[in-house]
């Protein structure tokens, strides 16, 4: 994954993505997917080159990026936690999982922890309804998660309660 905020570097990495796609508006969403896979988010500095390539205004590109909840304009944490907010998961306790995650990580959905280790988001439905409630960390799905298990799961990804509390304090 390329991590940079330098405009020229972003531009250089972008070129290989852009050159693989037709110069047509139809390519916009596939390009955004590739850009997000590359950088972990859609860097605001990438919007102008994409718009230029596809002969769109920057406002149009930004409008598309902000419409689709999959696309992020800011960098996620090193590990991204997605909590399923689908109906089956809600019924089986997603609100309690969210309460526990807020308590452990001290962030809201859409935010990143102070140490940059975790970011958090909610999603409409992961499609694992028969194993609710489910969460996904970096593409791995954890089924039937209880609030009590969360801290142990996060520890697999380097979570330490003391450090988090210290930083937040």
């Amino acid at each position: 994954m390329v991590t940079t905020t330098d405009y020229d570097q972003i531009r250089a990495s972008l070129q290989s993505v852009l050159s693989r796609h037709e110069r047509s508006r139809n390519s916009l969403i596939p390009i955004l997917h590739e850009v997000q896979d590359l950088f972990g988010h859609v860097p605001p500095a990438a919007i102008a080159p994409i718009a230029h390539r596809l002969s769109l205004s920057q406002a149009e590109v930004h409008g598309v990026v902000s419409f689709y909840s999959h696309f992020r304009l800011s960098a996620p944490g090193r590990h991204h936690i997605t909590v399923c907010a689908g109906t089956a998961c809600h019924v089986e306790g997603t609100p309690l999982l969210m309460r526990e995650l807020r308590k452990l990580l001290r962030i809201e959905p859409g935010q990143r922890t102070a140490d940059g280790l975790f970011s958090l988001s909610q999603i409409g439905c992961l499609g694992c309804c028969a194993m609710a409630p489910a969460i996904m960390i970096d593409g791995r799905i954890y089924p039937s998660v209880s609030p009590a298990r969360l801290s142990a799961i996060l520890t697999e990804y380097g979570f330490t309660k003391d450090v988090q509390t210290d930083e937040a304090a």
Binding site: H90, G127, C129
Partner: protein, 569 residues
């Protein structure tokens, strides 16, 4: 044609060797959910145990059978014996399966779910007699969990692409006629007659035509299309080829939910294989028919499941729905006639082309013929994707297929049809089909059925749906953007003990306005959970007005957090 003949012959020989040969075989269910349940660790434990004993077996990847509550599952076959399905396994029982079954004379009947074939052993019951299988009619799911979804030869060996070859030799109007005889209706929820869409698209003016497979499945609580795409992608791809041939399309798109990475990967692999086998591209099988497919990924927005919004997304625009008409069949992708069908609908097409409309109508009701893959979840004992004849009673599905409540807490309600659907009493007697369900105020929709018990508050659940509708609204039209906001505020007030006496009337009145005046399906159906909630569970709403939440969920009431205990146990 010769190449495909040859591939099919080879595929049959290989398949025969697999299910009747002299090597022990282990099929491992590897859907996204099976993997989440620990399928990889189970397979690894079996491999390790075999290696430790200096023995070998053939391992084959499959999708899954839809028995989510029994995952991880494997199928084991020893020479001369039936294929037996085992689950739910852990690493210990997986090792036991190796030592006591694969490498010994036993069959571990205590771990078995059932056997697939009639061969021995006698002491393992037939899978078809299992309570969760007994009521099913497996058509679109016939191969799910039995074949490797990433191996075209498995599909070819089981009759794959024969219907497409038959279609290539049939005039297009006769294919449409056959669909008309079948009475197939769209499986994404609308239930529109499929043949009419095909005929409309076929006859629309345009040099270029498209087929768009809607694999977005945004409804929370519906996961049957995910299962079909992960477990048997060629089934709907074959339907897509037949559809393209019948309507005269040369280019296809599949719009896949971004939440389904494994389905995306498997469909992508299947498309590559089709190109390799000469079933996609120019002049397919020397017929003069040319067609190719582009796989697109959605971007996490519910409304992208609506056909005009999906087309906008493919065209690189914000996915806001457009007023219809014009319908996509007339003016879709790039203004060209576009046939939009979902995964399950397309998977039914090869079966109808191969076996005929009369065969198709042999199950289901006269108005809703055929089967539907239902997604059962929530507090049911048996959860997963089960393919059932349309018209089966909802309480029969909940109690006999789903096994009723999972524990001592009785079921209170079932939510059907995703966010556009509604809440119904758990014991309601209504046939599950397109038309009867609409009369209850709920919907069959895409087939999601979520059972809830007394741990769940109906008002809180209605609020949850309203929050979802609010989050997912595109913001174009006033009733949905503003009306749903007001509905959400009233519900939030109720759950926080700030309800006022006129609230229920306001919810009903405004809910009906939003229902009747919104631009697209999202707004038109968003108030359904409230309207059905008040219709069937009025007393629970009224209790909130008097400061109590019978389920103990809403912050206004005691006892505090009974749900926390349930979730932790």
């Amino acid at each position: 044609m010769k190449r495909l003949d040859q591939l099919t012959r080879q595929a049959r020989a290989q398949w025969d060797a697999l299910i009747r040969g002299d090597d022990p075989v282990v099929w491992v269910a590897l859907g996204l959910c099976s993997q989440a349940a620990g399928a990889d660790a189970v397979a690894q434990a079996m491999r390790d145990e075999l290696t430790a004993r200096g023995r070998q077996a053939r391992f084959v990847r499959t999708g899954c059978m839809g028995l989510c509550y029994l995952e991880p599952t494997v199928i084991v076959r020893k020479p001369g014996c039936a294929r037996i399905v085992y689950g739910p396994l852990d690493e210990n029982s997986a090792r036991r399966l190796v030592t006591e079954c694969l490498l010994a004379d036993g069959f571990c009947p205590d771990l078995a779910i059932g056997k697939i074939d009639a061969d021995p052993p006698e002491d393992v019951p037939d899978l078809a007699d299992h309570p969760v299988m007994r009521h099913q009619v497996r058509r679109v799911m016939q191969h799910c969990g039995l074949i490797d979804p990433e191996d075209l030869s498995h599909y070819l060996a089981n009759g794959g692409y024969e219907a497409f070859r038959k279609a290539l030799a049939t005039p297009a109007d006769q294919i449409v006629e056959r669909l008309k005889e079948s009475g197939l209706r769209g499986r994404s929820g609308g239930g529109f007659p499929v043949w009419r869409k095909w005929e409309f698209t076929r006859n629309a003016e345009g040099a270029q035509r498209y087929v768009l497979c809607n694999a977005h499945e945004g409804d929370p609580g519906a996961f049957s299309n995910k299962l079909l795409a992960e477990s048997d992608p060629h089934a709907f791809l074959e339907g897509m080829l037949i559809a393209a041939f019948a309507v005269g399309a040369t280019q296809g798109y599949i719009y896949m939910a971004s939440e389904y990475p494994l389905a995306h990967q498997r469909v992508s692999t299947a498309i590559e294989q089709l190109r390799w086998a000469g079933l996609l591209g120019d002049d397919i099988l020397g017929s003069g028919f040319s067609f190719d497919i582009t796989l697109r990924s959605g971007a996490g927005v519910f409304i992208s499941g609506e056909e005009t919004a999906q087309i906008a997304s493919i065209e690189g625009r914000r996915g806001a729905p457009a007023p219809r008409p014009p319908y996509p069949g007339q003016s879709g992708i790039a203004g060209a006639p576009t046939l939009v069908q979902n995964v399950e609908t397309l998977a039914n097409v090869p079966l109808i082309v191969a076996r005929g409309g009369e065969w198709f109508r042999a199950v289901g009701t006269s108005g809703s013929p055929g089967t539907k893959a239902f997604s059962l979840s929530g507090r049911l004992a048996r959860r997963g994707v089960f393919e059932l004849p349309l018209g089966m009673g909802l309480s029969h599905v909940v109690n006999d297929v789903g096994g009723g409540a999972r524990d001592e807490h009785p079921l209170k309600a079932v939510h059907t049809g995703g966010p556009p659907g509604g809440l119904l009493p758990a014991n309601i007697e209504v046939p599950l089909d397109f038309d009867s369900m609409g009369e209850t105020g709920s919907l069959m929709g895409s087939g999601g059925i979520i059972a809830i018990d007394d741990h769940t508050c109906v008002v809180d659940l209605a609020r949850h749906f309203m929050e979802f509708a609010q989050d997912e609204a595109c913001g174009q039209c006033v009733p949905c953007r503003n009306g749903n906001r007001v509905l959400l505020d009233i519900l939030t007030g109720l759950t926080q003990g700030q309800g006022t006496p006129g609230d229920l009337d306001r919810l009903l009145e405004l809910g009906n306005v939003v229902r009747l005046t919104s631009l697209c399906g999202l707004g038109q159906t968003a108030p359904n959970p409230i309207l059905t909630g008040i219709r069937y569970f009025r007393s629970e709403f009224e209790a909130h007005l008097h400061g109590t939440c019978p389920a103990g969920v809403c912050p206004l009431s005691a006892p505090a957090e009974p749900l926390a205990e349930a979730a932790a146990s």
